[in-house]
Symmetry: C2
Subunit: 159 residues, 2 copies
């Protein structure tokens, strides 16, 4: 269950719509060394080189064919422990509250996590990967090939 903390100063909480608009299938699970949210790495350096796995359900496993031809994939997963109703947030690492769409916070209207992961190997219905920081057992929703021509922007500016 998400932690229903009160908003911090400057944060904005919204009423979510009464109905939803589309539905997802969980296609498998992300396996990582971190059993609780508290254990998950807090920065990019801490997850570098740590082995993880994408375990794809039997029904969807044929979709992994040819994944070994790629050095990197984009992994989408469902942050099922996240609340969805803070639209402006004040995480401890920023000085002023920021809009959720300018943050990689797990708290967002649609709590989809995204990681650009290194592919190590494919073994049956499992992709061995590196560079993901979610909790063990996180539901997997998609894997996409990473194409540097479309996805790589080395000089992107950020605050």
């Amino acid at each position: 269950m998400p932690d229903l903390r009160p908003p911090r100063p400057g944060e904005i909480e919204i009423d979510l719509p009464e109905t939803t608009d589309a539905e997802l299938y969980f296609i498998g699970r992300v396996r990582t060394p971190w059993k609780t949210l508290a254990e998950c790495p807090k920065n990019t350096a801490a997850r570098k080189g740590i082995d993880a796995r994408l375990e794809v359900d039997a029904r969807f496993a044929a979709g992994l064919k040819d994944l070994e031809l790629l050095s990197h994939v984009i992994v989408l997963y469902w942050l099922d422990q996240s609340r969805r109703d803070f639209i402006v947030q004040a995480p401890s690492h920023v000085r002023e509250p920021r809009g959720v769409f300018a943050l990689r916070s797990p708290v967002r209207p649609n709590p989809i996590g995204l990681a650009v992961a290194e592919v190590q190997a494919i073994e049956g219905n499992t992709a061995l990967i590196r560079n993901i920081d979610c909790v063990d057992g996180t539901p997997l929703i998609d894997i996409k090939p990473y194409f540097s021509s479309m996805d790589s922007v080395p000089n992107a500016k950020r605050p």
Copy 2:
């Protein structure tokens, strides 16, 4: 409605699960110059420099705060005209059928589209962007800041 064509040679069609696992809110719409799927650009070059807009619903618009500090964002959208049941596919540009997770095909178990887009400006509830190739009116599901430290892999290998 999705086009329910029969599988091509080598393609694999699956039975989708009877129940879904999570639900999405549409947070707005993507506005592009392309009114039908047939008009959408077929390659990266054709969408380069073409202006598009992310129109965020009033309820979620405060989440755009600070987006102007970013040069690029990752846009997630819902490919609502896509079927979801081809797990191995034979698109015309590849020689052998490929697994869906090694393809950027819109046909996938969870038809989430992803584009790394340039931010031009924010005007009220609208983000003016470039570099997206979906049909006009496509439902928007998330906007994330692009962080080159995590998201940029200039030398990623692909087939």
